[in-house]
């Protein structure tokens, strides 16, 4: 626990001089003003964090609401609305000490009653939220005084701390006694974050304006405007014509289409590893994939570097396990599977697969090695990945067929019913290393996420231990071991971690890519007065 706070402090100490330095270089301090126009493919649906399930809603709500804690640029949990917190010796009780004097948009002070209200709401069976899971572990929540909020857990639960983000802080004085599903609060939220909702035109744009009384100091940029442009090609043209300041690029746009003088003069491109990875998962109930040597052989037969080059144009890295390489819990020393077709053939032979009849395909007991991989429709990257794998596997004598299926049918008729042999999919990662839901053997039931049916007693034990351990070093050791086992077992062939590729107009200063991405310090972005584009009356 102490480790967390100290590192947060250190991060702060390093951040501050860095900011100052930049200001000195520019000759002046950061200026206030200007607007950033962001392109988004989808509209937000509702601006109540606990009810929202889409990324856009969370992005906007994240600027309007704060949580008790948040992640900083280096993925450390730091205080947000809570100045600090204590965890009891036994790990069961967390006590948050809240900031004083933080005001909701309507001037009412934020207190622990708001946290308690939010907690009661999210655990209320009538609230249609998708996030109640973490809060079910809470035995009791209480607000002993306006600036203290205390929660007691049934058993130590390490991911608990991070769950106290902005899901559960809502203005009690406005929402109490109302039916959360029927209020218009989700369209007209009253928050306490750096920005306030000014205008929301469905499927058109969302306009946020700075909060002058924000407790961390008002953000430098006056406005944040999100334009909803569903078509990626149009969005790129808008960027080119000057209608957008910030959008996410795809690898081709990043590598080729933005390599012109216009873009070099007006924009700056960033790249950092995204919180996701793509994998080839095997249905471990299928006799074909029961043998670990077969899975290892397939991993050797696939050239991950080639997929990164071919599919991501080099804008990503090969994955070695279920985490991205710049996270503190990533283990760089696990067994790797470089492209090695000879080794693949040898392993397959050991497992009894060889080309006995000389037709070019491997066979065993008269049956050819053939399987079908399924993936969801509309994801070109996964399609191309599948084709490259198909070609590589053919070279070692394995026949792989590819089938793409519309998302809902894909989930309902194939994944949920376990009617698949292998699958190409991706996982989005959280900031916490807990991956219990994906790998624990108790999570193989219908609709649960360990749909490949992975069972390993040691991993099961470690996953539970990881959830009960708060000490970062100890946790790290636990998750390092899990990564070693997964690398050995190869229940997935971990393929690649793609990069996020944002492009942002050059006039914005203060952007500092970190493992958390770039938006963690958004409220400290600024534009020098003489470069400001949108001057507000």
């Amino acid at each position: 626990m102490k480790g967390l706070l100290t590192s947060a402090l250190i991060a702060l100490i390093f951040l501050l001089p860095a900011l100052n330095e930049q200001c000195v270089l520019a000759g002046t301090g950061p200026d206030y003003g200007d607007t950033i126009i962001v392109g988004s493919i989808g509209d937000a649906s509702i601006l109540i964090p606990m009810l929202a399930t889409d990324a856009t809603s969370h992005e906007i709500a994240g600027l309007i609401f704060n949580g008790l804690v948040k992640y900083d640029g280096d993925l450390n949990l730091v205080g947000d609305l809570a100045k600090g917190w204590e965890i009891s010796e036994d790990g069961l009780v967390i006590t948050f000490h809240l900031r004083r004097g933080v005001k909701w948009e309507d001037g009412v002070e934020f207190t622990s009653a708001d946290c308690l209200f939010g907690f009661n709401l999210i655990t209320d069976p009538k609230t249609p939220t998708a996030y109640a899971g973490d809060f079910k572990e809470v035995e009791k929540a209480e607000a002993p005084d306006p600036y203290t909020f205390r929660v007691r857990y049934k058993e130590p639960f390490a991911p608990a701390l991070s769950s106290w983000g902005n899901l559960v802080v809502l203005p009690k004085h406005i929402l109490e006694g109302k039916d959360i599903t029927k209020t218009d609060f989700g369209r007209h939220p009253v928050g306490l974050g750096p920005y306030r909702l000014k205008e929301w035109k469905t499927q058109e744009r969302i306009v946020l304006e700075f909060n002058p009384t924000y407790f961390e100091g008002r953000p430098y940029l006056d406005r944040y405007v999100m334009r909803i442009i569903p078509d990626p090609a149009t969005m790129f043209l808008e960027l080119k014509s000057g209608g957008l300041d910030w959008m996410g690029l795809n690898p081709i746009q990043y590598k080729r289409q933005t390599n012109t003088r216009f873009f070099r003069e007006n924009f700056k491109k960033y790249r950092y590893l995204s919180f996701s990875y793509t994998y080839l998962g095997y249905n471990l109930r299928d006799p074909l994939f029961k043998d670990r040597r077969v899975r290892q052989a397939i991993s050797y037969a696939i050239d991950k570097e080639e997929i990164v080059r071919g599919v991501l144009l080099g804008l990503g890295v090969p994955a070695t396990g279920p985490y991205k390489p710049d996270a503190w819990y990533y283990n760089p020393n696990v067994r790797r599977y470089p492209y090695d077709p000879e080794r693949a053939r040898a392993l397959l032979k050991e497992a009894g697969w060889a080309d006995h009849d000389g037709d070019g395909w491997l066979d065993k007991a008269g049956r050819r090695f053939t399987f079908t991989v399924i993936t969801n429709q509309g994801n070109a990257l996964r399609d191309r990945t599948a084709q490259i794998i198909q070609w590589r596997l053919k070279q070692v004598g394995i026949e792989m067929k590819i089938r793409t299926i519309e998302w809902t049918a894909f989930i309902n008729d194939f994944i949920d019913k376990r009617r698949f042999q292998a699958v190409i999919l991706g996982w989005t990662l959280g900031q916490d290393p807990d991956i219990y839901d994906i790998w624990h053997s108790s999570k193989t039931g219908p609709k649960e996420l360990n749909f490949i049916g992975y069972k390993n007693p040691e991993v099961d034990r470690l996953l539970i231990e990881g959830r009960h351990t708060f000490d970062r070093e100890k946790r790290k050791r636990i998750y390092w071991r899990i990564q070693e086992i997964l690398a050995e077992d190869q229940p997935y062939t971990f393929l690649y971690v793609p990069m996020s590729l944002p492009i942002i107009h050059k006039r914005f200063r203060g952007i500092e890519p970190a493992p958390a991405g770039i938006s963690y310090n958004f409220i400290r972005w600024w534009v020098p007065k003489n470069e400001q584009k949108y001057i507000m009356p």
Binding site: L51, S57, A130, D134, I228, G243
Partner: protein
């Protein structure tokens, strides 16, 4: 008098047709794999089975299909389309209402453009049948018809938006400084934004209507009364625009009637490309999310309009063409 019974009869027929449509849509919709909570619940590690059940109950999905339909129907009778299944839980009518005007505006403008261009084009092609003009225009309108509209739209955006910088690329009006504009400036701003979407969506429709117009005109020009008109020594213009065109326009009524539902249908492709917040996008996303109430709401509106369009076409035809009117009277 006869015309009134004719309309009343047609109207009565609409009721069972309408309910047939809703029953079939409701059933087919529920046959598609997946459920409304799928987007929220699938692959969400925080989603527990109890929560899933709770959501199902909240949406009324735990009841048998006929109960769900009865419930929906009960709402419909009181003009309540229910609430959306998406996380915002807004009333369906609110969601559709805020998108209708834009879609109507664009579709009407584009329909108007199609008529204004293809009627004269069709007439001219009929009069100059088999001339180079006829052939060239035929090729051109078919090119417009065959070219994928998203491709045309992107080319137009690149040309007019980026290379020439004459027109904005997407959206309905300027983002910055719009509120400070005078009414006239606002209208101009909208007009500039609408040029591309309206034109591009009209291009694909030219072929159909102008060819229809042409063949109908050719048909009329072969009639005896045209010969008579010419024999009377009437000037050619008068023959064509007075005598021929009026009759040739008759089939157009049917086509226009049939295109009424299309006016609110909206097109996903266009709306996505030009970032227009219309009905098409709403429909598309509710299909993807299995948002049954919004889907049904949309279907009801389209169904009503289709039926009304058919009815209007029938009536319009009856009013315009004495032969049809006679036919009705003959039936009596």
């Amino acid at each position: 008098m006869e015309i009134i019974t004719f309309i009343a009869k047609k109207l009565l027929w609409l009721i069972p047709t309408f309910f047939g449509i809703t029953v079939i849509s409701f059933t087919v919709m529920h046959l598609a794999p997946g459920e409304p909570m799928a987007l929220q619940a699938n692959f969400n590690p925080k989603m527990t089975p109890e929560m899933r059940e709770r959501l199902r109950r909240a949406y009324g999905l735990d009841k048998p299909l006929y109960v769900q339909y009865a419930r929906w129907l009960k709402g419909l009778v009181t003009f309540d389309l229910g609430r959306s299944f998406s996380p915002d839980r807004r009333p369906v009518w609110d969601k559709i209402k805020e998108r209708l005007p834009v879609t109507l505006l664009i579709n009407c403008l584009s329909m108007l453009l199609i008529i204004v261009v293809s009627v004269p084009l069709g007439v001219a092609a009929a009069v100059r049948h088999n001339s180079p003009f006829d052939h060239i225009t035929t090729v051109l309108v078919y090119l417009g018809y065959a070219a994928p509209s998203f491709w045309l739209a992107l080319l137009a955006m690149i040309l007019f938006g980026i290379k020439l910088e004459w027109l904005p690329i997407s959206g309905l009006h300027s983002l910055m400084g719009y509120s400070a504009m005078s009414t006239m400036e606002k209208v101009m701003d909208w007009a500039r934004h609408l040029v591309l979407p309206v034109t591009v969506s009209a291009v694909g429709g030219l072929a159909g209507l102008s060819r229809y117009m042409k063949s109908s005109m050719l048909e009329v020009l072969r009639q005896d009364y045209i010969l008579t008109a010419r024999a009377k020594g009437l000037p050619e213009n008068r023959v064509i625009y007075r005598h021929a065109l009026r009759n040739a326009l008759l089939p157009l009524i049917t086509i226009l009637g049939l295109s009424v539902p299309g006016l609110i249908g909206g097109s996903v492709i266009f709306e996505s490309l030009f970032a227009i917040p219309g009905v098409g996008q709403l429909m598309w996303s509710s299909v993807m999310a299995r948002d049954y109430p919004v889907l049904m709401g949309n279907l009801v509106i389209v169904a009503v309009l289709t039926l009304l369009g058919n009815l209007l076409a029938d009536i319009g035809y009856a009013l315009a063409d004495p032969r049809v009117r006679k036919g009705i009277e003959g039936e009596q």
